[in-house]
Symmetry: C2
Subunit: 306 residues, 2 copies
């Protein structure tokens, strides 16, 4: 095998109660990448389609993730990478994570898999560090492992994959505004009330329990965030209306995807997820705000060869 | 059936990361109670053995819990209660919860079970309110439901029972000092850092995941508390030495039971739990501090008729 073509999935981090620890993987939204062996050693990004991103290896998240990996293993050959971006940068559904995960997954395949998917997370996190200044795993983990992931600890890294209930679908709407991760970070408070923190960890426990027991109602009741959402949602136009329409149309829960501006909802069944998408679209149509919208089963497999 | 005899189990609340939301039920530590129908309506505590507690119904946690229940249902007869206390008040292993749970469970049985065990939690919480001023469920829920319980929300009450992994054992040592719940509460801070809160909810997620997947190592890694334990442990003599000896002897994790002063450890297998008990005993023996110690499988059944 000299080259492989990959689907690099979009991901939803945080999931209301699980700020900085939870994420899930999407099936119908994602980039494509081609990773190819080359006689010239090292890593070259030779093509980026669909986005204006740097080709220089050291300035590209995929390049940086690949280099972090190749520091840990001798490769008899080098790699060329082509990136076909379909996820917009700054959308809040893991654009940089998809590229970082794709690079390390593709190289690992071409090297006959010296690393497990879980081990690849650590390398892909270096791409996230370049993108946001913070080597976080809450998007690269679900992109690589699929389903839901819990980052129990980021140092040392300890990731738990949680299989998705079979009938769980996500709707994600991306209002076409720019919201910098740094701005979304700056509104956070460094302390929280003990009472809210207890509510939050009760909900994290509830969400994890709901996923293992396929209890959709419990999943819904647990999708609640009284710490980050109140601070960040004001940066997202129409947030309250979108969330309300998600519930009206039968969603289990709804909140900010990653650091925004995308807004997600989870639903039981495709039909409900589509109805939620229709309702969200109507809200932004009436506001004359351009948007993209995705409806996707939760992708239990993660990144894959296509 | 005119009377029943009950085993009312001791419980461990909080479990390190799960302050105010998690608890587990013990099998070999607990009170006994007899609940009997009487022609005279109402509730009477006619005997308390092993503790100096009020017999007046309105001043006794079992009485108050029973009255809360009987407000919701008409009973054609009244009830007499005998309490054989084996769990010391103020031990931090759910003494008041055992009595509260026993009263409502016993009456429910004699009334042919009009309420589910989960519904009984709400009544038993009224006993906790009398005992500590706070109608919390983190001991009465595991006492009634068995296994592990997660109080996802206390208002409205939303409790998730999590079955215990088959080989999970608890060791609990109770140093014979007095530690008032009010004192243990007073050392808490009303705000916590966002960073510590994230660590804590990552661990709650990890613990719940570990319980569902019977991943003992993950359970162990998740038994960590950087919010409450550092503040409360200073009130407990020898805490650091006890905890260290628990790990030395192979425990998965160790922390404060409830609001203390008891200290718990969880272990895989009875042999390890016994070794942990031996190590803990040695620490308190060398300090010349009197103590009681329990080794118990996690009790997946909860309160039961004997």
């Amino acid at each position: 095998m000299n080259e492989i073509k990959l689907f690099c999935p979009a991901t939803i981090a945080n999931l209301s109660c699980g700020f900085d620890v939870l994420g899930l993987c999407l099936e119908t939204a994602g980039d494509e990448m081609i990773v190819r062996k080359s006689t010239e050693k090292g890593v070259r990004i030779i093509k980026i389609d669909g986005a204006d991103l740097p080709l220089e290896t050291e300035k590209n998240v995929a390049g940086v993730a690949a280099l972090a990996m190749l520091e840990q293993i001798d490769s008899p050959f080098g790699f060329e990478i082509e990136i076909y971006k379909r996820i917009k940068a700054g959308s809040g559904i893991g654009s940089s994570a998809a590229s970082s995960a794709g690079a390390v997954f593709g190289i690992n395949e071409l090297l006959d898999n010296p690393f497990t998917r879980k081990e690849l997370v650590l390398f892909a996190m270096q791409g996230e560090k370049l993108a946001s200044g913070n080597a976080h795993a809450d998007n690269v983990a679900p992109a690589l492992l699929g389903g839901f992931t819990l980052v129990r600890s980021s140092s040392p890294l300890d990731i738990v994959k949680i299989p998705s209930p079979i009938d769980l679908y996500a709707t994600v709407v991306h209002p076409q505004i720019e919201l910098k991760t740094s701005d979304a970070r700056s509104v956070l408070k460094q302390t929280v009330s003990l009472k809210s923190a207890i509510t939050q960890w009760g909900n994290v426990g509830g969400l994890v329990a709901g996923l293992y027991t396929q209890d959709y109602e419990l999943i819904g009741r647990s999708l609640h965030d009284e710490i980050v959402e109140p601070l960040r949602s004001v940066l997202i136009p129409g947030f309250d209306l979108i969330k309300k329409s998600a519930y009206t149309n039968g969603a289990l829960g709804s909140g900010i995807s990653g650091s925004g501006p995308s807004i997600f909802a989870l639903s039981k069944g495709l039909e409900t997820a589509n109805a939620v998408a229709k309702g969200m679209s109507k809200v932004y149509d009436e506001m004359n705000l351009p948007y993209e919208i995705h409806v996707s089963k939760v992708n239990d497999e993660g990144i894959k060869i296509i």
